[in-house]
């Protein structure tokens, strides 16, 4: 069965500053949905609110369950994971330890989950015992993605996963997103690289100063003149 997260009239403020002004959108399992927009549009703010890291108003409904009353750890238990902007690696923990913490709320055996991530990211396997803070930027990004997958989420939110990665690695990682999608994972993707994101997304939203100004399939937005002007060069 398909699950989905429906966001209704989401508002987020930082003190007196309003960063997200009543947006509504949805995303589903087995699909990649992307959120594009300029710097400061409110994309990261939206994901943090969905993960429960920021106070917010409006409704977040995950398979007819209300999420907005739940804390961040509780939302993770429901299957909503966030791979945050800036990666958020624990610098003093090794690669393995970072991954193990990704499965903090899991009771199942960690070694199987670990092996799966090491298979998917061989680069991390080579560096198991290295401290997270000493990894290269790209390696940290892989670690952040792998760590988010350790919780076996149903819905994965990715905040600029391609940041700092070489083009060839970006292609590989996007291929992995596509593979994960096929296994039924729902992905909500934020990307600066709009053309790449729109290509793999079945549904896409354009955010501008905290409001959604456009919505369509990835293919539709790729052809949209406003999108071409502002986000594709």
């Amino acid at each position: 069965m398909k699950s989905s997260i429906i966001v209704k009239d989401l508002h987020v403020n930082y003190g007196l500053i309003t960063a997200v002004r009543g947006i509504s959108f949805s995303f589903s399992s087995g699909e990649i949905t992307c959120l594009i927009g300029c710097n400061g549009a409110g994309k990261s703010t939206t994901l943090k609110a969905l993960a429960g890291l920021l106070p917010h108003s409006g409704q977040i409904i995950f398979d007819s369950k209300n999420m907005q009353v739940l804390s961040t750890p509780e939302r993770l238990k429901q299957g909503i994971a966030l791979c945050p902007e800036g990666r958020g690696i624990f610098p003093n923990l090794t690669v393995t330890e970072n991954l193990q913490l990704g499965a903090y709320s899991k009771k199942t055996k960690l070694s199987d989950l670990l092996d799966r991530q090491f298979d998917m990211f061989p680069r991390l396997a080579e560096r198991r015992q290295q401290q997270g803070g000493t990894l290269s930027g790209g390696e940290q990004q892989m670690l952040a993605i792998a760590r988010a997958l350790m919780s076996e989420p149903k819905m994965l939110m990715l905040d600029e996963p391609s940041l700092g990665l070489a083009p060839i690695i970006i292609e590989q990682i996007f291929q992995k997103f596509e593979d994960l999608r096929k296994t039924g994972l729902g992905i909500l993707l934020i990307e600066q690289n709009a053309s790449l994101a729109l290509e793999i997304s079945s549904s896409a939203y354009v955010l501008e100063t905290g409001e959604i100004i456009l919505h369509g399939t990835g293919a539709e937005l790729l052809k949209d003149s406003r999108v071409q002007q502002s986000y594709l060069s």
Partner: protein, 299 residues
Amino acid sequence: MEEFLQHSLNGLSFGSIYALVALGYTMVYGILGMINFAHSEIYMMGAFMCYYFALWMGFQTPSPINFTLGLLFAGLMAGAIGFLVEKFAYKPLRKSPKMNSLITAIGVSILFQYGGQIIFGANPKSFPTLIEDQNLFEIAGSQIHLIDLLIYGVSALALLGLHFIIYKTQTGRAMRAVSSRPDMSPLMGIDNNKIISMTFIIGSVLAGIAAVLVSIKYPKIDPMMGSKIGMSAFVAAVFGGIGSLHGAIIGGLMLGVGEYYLIGYGASTYRDALSFTVLILILLYKPTGLFGSQLKEKI
């Protein structure tokens, strides 16, 4: 030479105690960035809990079982008290400026000291003999006492246990994660509040155990007994690099040994001055202490 060995052994015995207590300071600092000035009073409470436990159980003859039970009970109670202090005194202030928690910590410390004088009485009490001390054997002319051996052994076990928790369990990893990126840890499903409570409990258990070991060696306890050892342990933590686990252990051992050399070589009047001198020198010349790097095993 014989003397030197004897002083070193005595120093190591006291240093182990400093290390156990210093860990509580350093762990709380690592996770909350505050100095828990009430830690020395949790130590004191450990001794008193054990005292009343022995009375209540009617321990008459010294025995290894009484010793073990007393140690466990003191550790358990100290852990519970540490948990409650954090929950009721510090947690409500988590979001306010650090200075508020610092002043509260001093307040809690005073509350325990003077509350203790009212409830337990200000006069020193003689601590029950949980286990009979004896000269076990001699190494190169130095007497090895049972109680010192117990201090080494129990401290080593406690440190190994701590090491296991911090480096080999999810709770320990979570403690290190919360100390470095408390903003990110909830995304792993970590409840920061639980981990902070856990840190206080573990640090307090170690203090409770240390208190019983010391009270067996020097069987006089009173409500002010925490302040001297608390001061030295705090200095040991700063010396080793506050926030660093290994720093607290090495700082504690070094300070203990240093103090015993002073006592042993006729300068015992300066014993208490040693901690202060070390503290001032460290703060002046190397405020991060021996192991106070930013990345390494900070908890």
